[in-house]
C-alpha cells in the first residue's frame, strides 16, 4: 500500500518539478531520491506487515510478504535501472521529468498488478502500466521507428484490452458471488462452468499478450526494437516481470483448483513461446532486436510458473524476475552506450572497455542460465517446478534444448566482445563515468550473489 501511494505522489512531484525546475539534468537525482523513498516505504511495510495508509476498503488489494518482496525486487531493479540509465533517459527528449513521472506511474501499476485481489484492480493496474508505456515507446518523436512502434503497440495493446475485458465480463457472468474478486469463484474440482472457461481463455490470451508469449507476442520485437533503448530496457524487464507476476497470481488464485483443465493451454503457449523466441533470436543481427526475441524466449521459461503453479514455481518466478530483470537491465545499459547496435558493433569490446565487457558477459551468462549466476538458479527453480508437476516431461526436455539454442545467440555477443577484433575505424566516443562502471559491477555482483545463494531473496518471500 505504501508503494502505491508513494509512487503516485512522487509521480506527481516529478510532474510538477518538470514544470518548475529548469535544469533537466537534475531529474535523475529527483527520481532516484523518490525511488529510494518508495523502497524505504515498501521495506517498512514488509518488515512491519503494516501500511502507513489504511484506505483499502473492501480489501481489493492484498499485501503479504510474498508480493511485498516481489514489489521490493521490482523497485530495486528499477533503482538499478535509474542508476544505470539516468543519463541516457535525458537524451531521449526534452520532457525528462515527465518520463520519470510516467515511470513512477508505471511502478504504481506494477504494485497494483502484484497485489490485486479483484479483476478490477488487475484491469486498472494493467492499464496504468500500458498507457504510459505507449507514450514512452513513442517518446522519440522524430524517429519514425519510435512512432511506428508506439502506434503498433497502442493498437495491439488496446485490442488485447478489449479481449481482456471481454474475458472479465464472462468471468463475472460465471461468478457465483456476482463480484470481481478472484478468490470467490468457488470452482471446486469439477468441470468449470462454460462462462468461466470462456473468460479464462480470453484472460489467458490477453495476459499472454502482455507477457509476450507466443502466439500473442508479435508486438514485442517491433515495439522493443522501435522504442528508445532505455525504455525498451524498462518495459522488457520490470513491466514484463510484473505482468508475469499478475498472470500467475490471477491464475493461481482464480483458477488454481481447476489447474488440470487448462494446463494444456499453458503447455501450448509455453512450447510455442520457447520455440519461436529462441528460434527467431538466432538469426538476428541487431543486438537490440535479438534481446527482444530473447525476452520472448525467457518468457517461455517463465511460463513454466503458470504451467506448474506450485510453490517452487512461485518462488522461481520471483527469482526469475529478479535475475532476468537485472541481467537485461545490465545488458541494455551496456547496449545503450554503443553506437552500433549490431553484433559486429560489439567486436573487440573486451579490449576497449574491459569492465563493460566482463559485466556484459556475466549478464549474458545469467541469461543463458550458467551456474553461479542468478539466471541458473531461476531456470533451475522453473525446471524443478515443472518436473515436480509431473506431467509433460517432454516439455521440460524441449525447454532445455531451447536453452541450449539460447546459448547460441547469447554467446555470439560474448564471442564478438572477446574473440573478435574490431575495425580500427569503428571506434567511438565513450560516455562512461566511473560511477556507471561501479554500478554495473555491483549489478553483476548481485547476479552472482543470487546465483550462489538465492535464499537471500527467497527467504523474504515467507518473512
Amino acid at each position: 500500500m505504501n508503494a502505491i501511494i508513494l509512487t503516485t505522489v512522487w509521480g506527481i512531484v516529478m510532474m510538477l518539478a518538470g514544470a518548475f525546475v529548469k535544469n533537466k539534468s537534475t531529474a535523475k537525482y529527483w527520481a532516484i531520491l523518490g525511488l529510494v523513498i518508495v523502497i524505504a516505504g515498501n521495506s517498512i511495510e514488509l518488515l512491519q506487515q503494516e501500511s502507513f495508509f489504511k484506505i483499502d476498503i473492501r480489501e481489493m488489494l492484498h499485501f503479504q510478504s510474498f508480493n511485498l518482496t516481489f514489489i521490493s525486487v521490482m523497485l530495486v531493479c528499477t533503482l538499478f535501472y535509474f542508476l544505470l540509465n539516468g543519463k541516457e533517459i535525458e537524451k531521449v527528449g526534452t520532457n525528462v521529468f515527465e518520463y520519470f513521472a510516467l515511470i513512477f506511474f508505471i511502478l504504481c501499476g506494477v504494485v497494483l498488478a502484484a497485489s490485486f485481489k479483484t479483476l478490477l484492480m488487475l484491469f486498472i493496474g494493467i492499464e496504468i502500466i500500458s498507457i504510459p508505456l505507449y507514450i514512452l515507446t513513442g517518446s522519440d518523436k522524430r524517429n519514425l521507428k519510435s512512432n511506428e512502434a508506439a502506434l503498433k503497440y497502442f493498437l495491439m495493446g488496446s485490442f488485447s484490452t478489449g479481449i481482456m475485458i471481454m474475458g472479465i465480463a464472462f468471468i463475472y457472468g460465471g461468478s457465483p458471488s456476482a463480484s470481481f474478486f478472484i478468490d470467490t469463484l468457488q470452482l471446486g474440482v469439477g468441470k468449470m462452468p462454460a462462462f468461466i472457461a470462456v473468460g479464462l481463455i480470453l484472460l489467458m490470451v490477453s495476459m499472454s499478450f502482455k507477457v509476450s508469449a507466443a502466439p500473442f507476442h508479435f508486438w514485442t520485437p517491433d515495439v522493443y526494437d522501435g522504442a528508445p533503448t532505455v525504455f525498451t530496457s524498462f518495459m522488457s524487464t520490470i513491466v514484463k516481470a510484473a505482468s508475469f507476476f499478475a498472470f500467475v497470481r490471477l491464475f493461481e488464485n482464480a483458477f488454481g483448483t481447476v489447474h488440470e483443465q487448462w494446463q494444456k493451454l499453458a503447455v501450448i503457449i509455453t512450447a510455442a513461446t520457447l520455440l519461436i523466441g529462441n528460434l527467431t533470436a538466432v538469426f538476428q543481427q541487431s543486438v537490440k532486436r535479438m534481446l527482444a526475441y530473447s525476452s520472448i524466449a525467457q518468457a517461455g521459461f517463465m511460463m513454466f510458473a503458470l504451467f506448474a503453479l506450485n510453490d517452487r514455481a512461485k518462488e522461481g518466478l520471483v527469482l526469475y524476475a529478479a535475475a532476468y530483470s537485472l541481467a537485461t537491465i545490465g545488458i541494455f545499459a551496456v547496449l545503450v552506450k554503443m553506437n552500433d547496435y549490431t553484433i559486429d558493433g560489439f567486436n573487440g569490446l573486451a579490449k576497449k572497455q574491459p569492465v563493460l565487457a566482463i559485466c556484459a558477459t556475466i549478464f549474458l551468462l545469467s541469461l543463458t542460465g550458467i551456474p553461479l549466476t542468478a539466471g541458473f538458479q531461476s531456470k533451475f527453480f522453473m525446471l524443478l517446478a515443472a518436473v515436480k508437476d509431473g506431467h509433460q516431461i517432454w516439455l521440460v526436455i524441449f525447454a532445455v534444448l531451447c536453452a541450449a539454442i539460447s546459448a547460441y545467440y547469447y554467446f555470439r555477443i560474448i564471442q564478438a566482445m572477446y574473440f573478435k577484433e574490431s575495425d580500427a575505424s569503428a571506434d567511438q566516443e565513450w560516455d562512461i563515468s566511473p560511477a556507471f562502471k561501479y554500478i554495473l559491477v555491483i549489478t553483476a555482483a548481485v547476479i552472482i550473489v543470487l546465483g550462489v545463494y538465492p535464499n537471500l531473496l527467497l527467504d523474504w518471500l515467507y518473512y
Binding site: 553461479l372 524443478l384 541450449a404 546459448a407 547460441y408 554467446f411 572477446y418 574473440f419 545463494y453
Partner: protein
Amino acid sequence: MQQLGLRFPELLIWSPLIAGLLCFILKNDKNSKAIALVSSLITLVISSASLFYANNKQLSGLEEGYVWMKYIGASFNIGLDGMGHILTFLTAFSFPVIFIATYKTSYKDSFAFYGLMLLAQAGLMGVFTALDALVFYFFWELALIPVYFLSSRWGGEKRIQATFKFFVYTFAGSLLMLIGIIYLYLQTPATAYSEHSFAINAFYSIHFNLTFVQQYWLFWLFFIAFAIKMPVFPFHTWQPDAYEQSPTAVTMVLSGIMVKMGVYAILRWLVPVFPAAMDKYNMLIAALAIFGMIYASIIAIKQDDLKRLVAYSSIAHIGLMCAAIFASGQIAVQGVMIQMFSHGINIIGLWIVIELIERQTGVRKISQLGGIAHKAPVLTIMLVIIALANIALPLTNAFVGEFMMFNGLFKFNIWLAAVAGISIILAAVYTLNMVQKVFYGETNAVTESIKEIAWNEKLALGVLVIAIFFVGVYPQPLFNLTKDVVLMITGNKN
C-alpha cells in the same frame, strides 16, 4: 585428525579458486605465471596430504555439509573417497606439470589465461568432490566455462566455431542431466529440513522407488550428458575440432582431466543410481562404445594433424573405458580407475610433446615433419616412452588398466573383447606411424631448426615418465586406494 581429513576437499577447491581470482585482481602478466605455478603446487601438496587421510571405506563428507539451499534440500556437501582421491590427485598433479611444461610459452593477457586455468582447476576439483547432486551440477558447468573462454580466446584459427560447438553440445547434454537430477530429487524421501534431498546417499537408494521404465529414460538423460563429455561415439564430433583449435595447455586439461569427468560421473552418478537400466542397456552401450573405439582408431590412421590424431586416439581409449564400465565387473571397473589416472598422464605427455614441436616449428602436420630424433634425442625418448604407454605396453601404466579392462570385458562378452582387441593393433599402427613420420627419417626444412628441450620441459616430461613407470610396475597403491569404491560401485557382480 579425522576432521582435518575432511577439510581437504574444501581446500582443494579453494586453493585454485582464490589463486585464480587473485590473478584477475592483480592483472599482472608476470606474477600470474608464478601465482599459478605456486598455487598449483600448493594444491598438489594438499592433495598428496589428503591421501594420507584417505578414508576409502565410504563416501563421507562433512557431517551436514554447509546447508546451502535449506528448504529445497541442497547442501554444499563435498568429500572424497578412493575414486575422488585418484581424480583430485590427477588434477592436482597435472596442473603443475602443465604449467611447468608451458612455462616458456607466452600468452597474451597471461593473467587472464592463468586465472581461467586455475578457475577450471577449481571447477574440476569440485566435480570430483561433490557429494550433492546440485553441487555436482554446479561444478560440472563451472569447469566448462573457463575452458570455453580459454579455448576461444587463445585457440587456433577456427577456434570460435569449434569451441562453441563444444560448448553448446556439452551444455545441452548437461541440461538434460539437470532434468534427470531434478526428477530423481523429487523422488527422494524427506529430510529434516526439506521434502526432498540432493544428497548422494539419497540418490543411491532411490532406485527402490523407481519403476523400471522410469529408470530407463532417466538413464538416458544422464548418459547422454556423460557420453558427450567423455565423448563416446556418436557424440564425439566436437572433440577433434576442439582439441585441434584449443591452445595446447587447455587441450591438456580438456583431454587429460575433463574427459575423466564423464567417466567419473558415470561411475559415481549413473551406475549405482540405475541398476535396472544398467542391466538392460549394458550390452548396447558396451557395443556402441567398442564400435566407436574401432571407428576412432581407424580414423586416427588417416589423420595428418598431430592433435587430431591424439584426439581420435583419446576417443578410442575412452571408448574402452566406457565399455569396461558397462561390462560392470569388478575387474573391469578397477581397470577403469587405474586407466583414468594413466590416460590422464599419458595424454598430457603427448600434448606436451606436440606443444614443443609446434612451438618450435609452427607445424602440426605429420606429413611436414620428420627427423626430429636427430635434433632432440631426449624429446624423442620421452615421446617414445609416452607413445608406448599410450598403446599400453606392459610395464607402463596403461597396460595395467587396459589389461584389467579387457579382462573384465572378456568376462562380460568374449566377442566384444575380441573386437575391442583389434584396437590394440590399430593403436600400434597409428601411434608408430606418427612416431616414425615425425621423429624418424631425415630432417627437413621444417625440423632443421628444432632444438633440444629445455630444463622445464625435461622436468615435466620426466615426472610424467616416472609416473608412467611407477604405475606400470607397481600399481598396487592405486588398487588399495580404489578397492572399496569399486566394490561399492559394482556391488556383488564379478
